[in-house]
């Protein structure tokens, strides 16, 4: 009996350890997605090589209609329901994903700004930016597409 008891206890302990490890790993992964670094990409035509963070936020709030070279500012975003979209919503807009969708619905239907182009995933987003002059977007990991350029934010590639 004692032997069996010890066996079951050690088995529970082992399973418990595995669960705890999984939970810790999960928490680690979750916090990593919240803290993950972001990179701004743009079409070679339009956006400058450097932007200040305040300028980037203003642009992504739709407050700038044209780049200095006259090209129309075209905002591209991944869906704010995606993990990356949630991170961008919090870090750039200081809103939840739902808040960002509400913001764009309010301003675009008031006729103030054109709504952003929204994509399901980053590869679609990157292709759109590559093909549309003036386009700008935020990614977590650029794929190295030669048709887009990385815009430095406050002098850094990632922030």
């Amino acid at each position: 009996m004692d032997k069996n008891k010890t066996y079951y206890l050690s088995r529970y302990a082992r399973n418990g350890m595995v669960l705890v490890c999984c939970f810790v790993l999960f928490l680690g992964l979750t916090s990593k997605s919240q803290d993950s670094s972001l990179t701004v990409i743009s079409n070679p035509k339009g956006a400058p090589a450097n932007l200040r963070m305040a300028e980037l936020k203003s642009i992504l709030l739709g407050e700038k209609q044209r780049w200095n070279d006259g090209t129309k500012v075209v905002i591209a975003m991944v869906k704010s329901t995606t993990p990356l979209g949630e991170v961008i919503s919090k870090r750039i807009y200081a809103m939840s994903g739902d808040g960002v969708r509400g913001f764009w619905a309010r301003v675009s239907f008031a006729g103030k700004y054109d709504p952003p182009n929204v994509f399901n995933n980053t590869s679609e987003l990157e292709n759109f930016v590559a093909q549309n002059p003036g386009a700008i977007a935020i990614l977590d990991k650029p794929s190295g597409n030669n048709d887009v350029k990385v815009v430095l934010i406050d002098g850094k590639k990632a922030f």
């Binding site: 739902d98 239907f109 002059p133």
Partner: protein
């Protein structure tokens, strides 16, 4: 002969403008990005011992980018209109073609929401984005011209103060949607700044001459009225607090009554307990000059308290209690529940 010269000169200008158009637009790619949305709200209310159910305007909204400098916005409302064969009517609320000619500067033509104050410039007919169930009372009292058909120049987010302007010339009150009823034009000049995040301060001036015998909001105007409106707005929608207050001073001048001064203002405040729950209040006041003949003279004070629950950005429920005191109908209380959606 001089009239022939004038005609030739006008013709030359028109031809030159026509020839310039392809040059203006040829450098840009044509992209079409069209969004169609609808808004509606359902209501339940209790007033004078009677409960009622109903629904508001069904708002059909279209925005479209037609070109990298040209965009279109259309807003059409289907609404209950007693006396019509089906008890419903279709109303074109906005048709705006926007041309972005430089930076954040645009030219707009069509039927606009007159950019006279923050509410009229920001919210459309869909109730889902309204902070309260209905508009402030100065809208229902036709204190300000809600729509103007005409042309405007608009600038947004200019400089560090994020300065904005709207200069509009329109047909003015009493006009049909397709033509002016007289030779007078309405003028709207509005400026605002956004000195800090979420805060917008604005002022505007509106001037129009309403001809004798014009019909304005189903009312016959028996005098020629020179109208001037001065409006001020403070809007703050922050992460916790919401504040919106606007006031308009109206000077309506006729040959018989002279200049009459009327005022209308409201104050809205809200507090976000969470992103979803927002209790709020609004105070409205309408006060008319003793000799006022342009407006329906009905001095009114109203106070409401409410609770808003944002299910998500396209579904909002609100519950409100409103007490109103009017010069013509006395006191009344109303409790209203609204479910507003966008689709």
């Amino acid at each position: 002969m001089p009239s022939n010269q004038k005609l030739l000169r006008s013709l030359a200008i028109v031809i030159a403008m026509f020839c310039a158009c392809p040059k203006l637009f040829s450098q840009n790619t044509i992209i079409q990005n069209t969004h169609i949305r609808g808004f509606i709200d359902a209501l339940a209310s209790y007033q004078n011992g009677k409960a009622s159910f109903g629904f508001g305007e069904q708002d059909l909204f279209i925005t479209s980018e037609l070109h990298d400098r040209i965009s279109f916005l259309g807003e059409t409302v289907f609404k209950y209109t007693p006396g019509t064969p089906t008890d419903f009517s279709v109303s074109v609320e906005r048709v705006v073609i926007k041309y972005n000619y430089y930076g954040n500067h645009n030219l707009l033509i069509g039927k606009h929401h007159t950019p006279i104050n923050y509410w009229n410039d920001t919210y459309h007919h869909g109730r889902v984005f309204f902070p309260t169930i209905e508009r402030p009372l100065l809208f229902a009292a036709n204190f300000i011209p809600l729509h103007t058909t005409g042309m405007s120049a608009q600038g947004q987010n200019l400089g560090k103060l994020r300065f904005g302007y709207d200069l509009m010339v329109g047909n003015g009150l009493g006009s049909a949607e397709v033509a002016d009823n007289d030779s007078y034009k309405s003028i709207t000049a509005a400026v605002h700044i956004k000195p800090v995040e979420n805060l917008r301060l604005g002022v505007s001036y509106y001037n129009d001459v309403i001809s004798k015998d014009a019909h304005v909001h189903d009312k016959h105007i028996g005098w020629k009225v020179n109208q001037q409106l001065f409006t001020g707005s403070v809007a703050y929608f922050g992460n916790k607090f919401e504040l919106l207050t606007e006031g308009t001073l109206a000077l309506n001048k006729t040959d018989t009554t002279g200049s009459q001064t009327s005022t209308a203002y409201y104050l809205y405040g809200g507090y976000k307990i969470t992103e979803k729950w927002v209790p709020y209040f609004r105070f409205d006041n309408l006060h008319y000059g003793n000799g006022e003949v342009f407006y329906t003279k009905d001095n009114t004070t109203s106070f409401l308290v409410g609770l808003r629950y944002n299910i998500n950005y396209l579904a909002v429920v609100k519950l409100e209690y409103q007490h109103t005191n009017t010069q013509l109908n006395g006191d009344f209380d109303k409790v209203t529940f609204q479910f507003a959606v966008g689709f």
